[in-house]
Subunit: 440 residues, 2 copies
């Protein structure tokens, strides 16, 4: 039993002093166990928010969070293990492509994922639009599947880093969410609880991301990289663009269709490009090949059909209908009402409020306004225009996929209110703003 | 219904921005009503602690606290009304003397008091050691007694500033107690809820006080004076010495005996002096007489027996045995074991850990370690030595009044460990460090 009074720890942080590992545990781990009440944990969070946590404090916080639950060592997997995680964006189906692509290149991808909330979609929800697909794998079954197939995507259970769920709910309720060290600890705790050789983290920046500016995203990326380093783990952290939807599909079945098209090599663009870049980064890092060679292998895995075949095998292993990779339109649920979105005026697409596009999809039933909400896998938005594209007035820049006749009007209005068209040419934003590399 | 989201208010203070009155009400008053949960109120308290509250914010906080409950306008009282409050110390029986003394000078004293906690005694507990004395007066009865007799001391009920009780408990649990604006709001809310013409506030400074330094006490005094000014009320705030017990008695019946002796004019010293100074200050301020004249009237009220007679009448009005003013030793409970405290060495008394003396009395049953604890009215400590006094080794510097034979040893050890004797002469500390005057 700790002799540290958690109130003294809170007072110390309140006064701007550094906390050691035992002190942080006496608040955070004790809170997860129910020994520290919410009101004291809230006071700690506010003090940590205002006074900040330095790198060793953030490592200690994350360790205490990880210690609050089970971990997934994945020791039975023989191939180099990589985890890939995005901080959340709109039309971000990269994981659906990355997991089979990296696995087809000889890496092991054991991906634990959460459900979507608000304007950001969830990988689990997307995969579950495939009839029969199960994400409730036990740790043993997941590990076996990764060893045999090369990849698995499973639901993160409540006993993995339970402190994160408890603290996040409290932060949301106490205005202590937007703190870089607290976000870094939350994001990384769930990655560090899983035994992988490399963590690939995609920190999104822009109108559809939690971090609205590249500067804020870079701060978070740096904190996450430092955290991995302080823990003794290897992480590569990219800051990537979320000033517009990354891919085209904002939904669930729609995202699976897009991922299948990318894996078939039928669809280029920013989403495909980012998936290839992440796969190449993982390959270069874990197999010690050059970036050029890694990138070429990743492209070949697409053109050869190896990556698509891997996706088929993963879907089959998790109970889903593998025919989805040949004819997604026949296997996946589709919405009864599909209405084109017309370009509001002629000119160049200059800006997109990506979060609004995500919220329009939530309005169609494709996402959750609140935790636990039911989602409609068939609905959503396809938004094809990219910043810099030349548009003609009335040209279809996407479609709304809706359950009822009345829904598309609201969604189209919302999408059109979220785009800005300029009569001057506009440069597309970069796809990747930069990488942070933390070497253990 | 307020449209303000209390989380936005907390976020604003978190970021160091000023809050307006409606924003503060949306947290504080809503918390008192149960509409804001403890964890959000805790986050607010920590943000307010670290970022501070300026004078208008502190007024707004106090207003919200006062609005959480009933107030006592005392409009039926015809004489000038004065309230006197101490922030708490050891052997601080000034209120027992001040109330009848000021009343005998033509002022009205309607004093609501709380119970003692920890090393500081409570006026209610002291008065209740008088057999029959009742402090549970209704507002109507209290007002009538003040109008007829001149003074009353009654228990502060839970419906007066309930927000203070709720917030104080939360502050104690979340390391947010020692904040000047939060303390000022807590202290002053209970004074501002009562309709008086003058608030006399005694902010104690030193080893037996909450504020250990004169500087901290002055900050609090200034904040309390500003708060009264911002509210439009008149307050005189003194910073007085608590580097040693003020009077001699640290207990309950022992304090009443000491007060009776002061009111009889049989006992001089720092406690009597402070009571006279407060009475003179009230008289000067409310009746517009000079300090010299006010002081002379106060001294005459003692020597004439008027003040003692007023005390007798107040005790009688509240059901207590009035014979206590003639023969306290016959009326009040007394402890079966009385053991002298010997001076530990020869020399000059140089320093006293006054809080330790208070805690030694708590150990004898004279005070409460926890809220709701039972107290023993007969026990306590009499500590006669004052800083600067010349002591002989073994000379009795006081007595322990105990319930059992075993108790005095522990108490004496604790008292002796709390005193420091020097072989060089020591100057006594000032009694009053200064006054803060806030003119509405």
């Amino acid at each position: 039993v700790s002799r540290i009074d958690p109130r003294d720890v809170v007072a110390k942080k309140r006064d701007g002093r550094r906390l050691d590992e035992d002190e942080i545990r006496s608040v955070v781990l004790a809170h997860a166990r129910g020994d520290v009440p919410d009101h004291l944990a809230s006071a700690f969070l506010m003090a940590a928010f205002i006074r900040g946590l330095d790198s060793p404090e953030t490592v200690a916080l994350t360790r205490a969070m990880v210690e609050s639950g089970i971990t997934l060592p994945l020791e039975g997997i023989s191939r180099p293990k990589v985890d890939k995680h995005s901080t959340g964006g709109v039309a971000d189906g990269v994981t659906l492509v990355f997991a089979p692509l990296a696995a087809s290149l000889g890496l092991a991808v054991a991906k634990l994922s959460g459900r979507g909330l608000g304007h950001t979609g969830g990988t689990l929800d997307k995969l579950e639009s495939i009839p029969g697909f199960r994400t409730d794998l036990t740790a043993e079954r997941m590990e076996r599947q990764v060893e045999e197939v090369g990849c698995a995507v499973a639901a993160q259970t409540d006993d993995l880093v339970p402190a994160d769920g408890a603290l996040y709910a409290l932060r949301d309720a106490t205005a202590t969410v937007p703190s870089v060290p607290l976000i870094a600890a939350s994001v990384m705790s769930k990655k560090l609880a899983v035994g992988t050789d490399l963590i690939l983290l995609d920190v999104k920046a822009g109108s559809g991301a939690f971090m609205k500016t590249v500067e804020d995203a870079s701060d978070l990326a740096g904190a996450c990289a430092e955290l991995a380093l302080g823990w003794g783990r290897r992480a590569l952290v990219a800051v990537t663009d979320m000033s517009q939807p990354l891919g085209e599909a904002v939904g669930n079945a729609l995202d699976v269709t897009e991922a299948v098209e990318v894996l078939r090599g039928e669809r280029q663009g920013r989403m495909a490009e980012l998936a290839l870049e992440f796969a190449a980064a993982a390959l270069r890092d874990l197999l010690d090949v050059s970036h050029g060679e890694a990138r070429a292998r990743a492209e070949r895995a697409i053109s050869s059909g190896d990556a698509l075949d891997l996706f088929r095998r993963m879907i089959e292993a998790q109970g889903g209908d593998p025919a989805v990779v040949e004819a997604p339109e026949k296997v996946l649920p589709s919405a009864p009402v599909v209405v084109p979105i017309p370009a509001p005026e002629a000119g160049y697409l200059a800006a997109v409020e990506a979060e609004e596009i995500g919220q329009a999809a939530v309005g169609l039933g494709a996402g959750r306004a609140r935790k636990g909400d039911h989602i409609d896998p068939a609905t959503g938005i396809v938004f094809r225009a990219k910043i810099g594209d030349r548009l003609d007035r009335g040209e279809a820049i996407g479609e709304v996929h809706a359950r009822s006749e009345d829904d598309p009007r609201v969604a189209i209005d919302r999408v059109l209110a979220a785009v800005r068209v300029s009569d001057r040419e506009v440069d597309p934003p970069p796809l990747v703003y930069g990488w942070r590399d933390a070497q253990a």
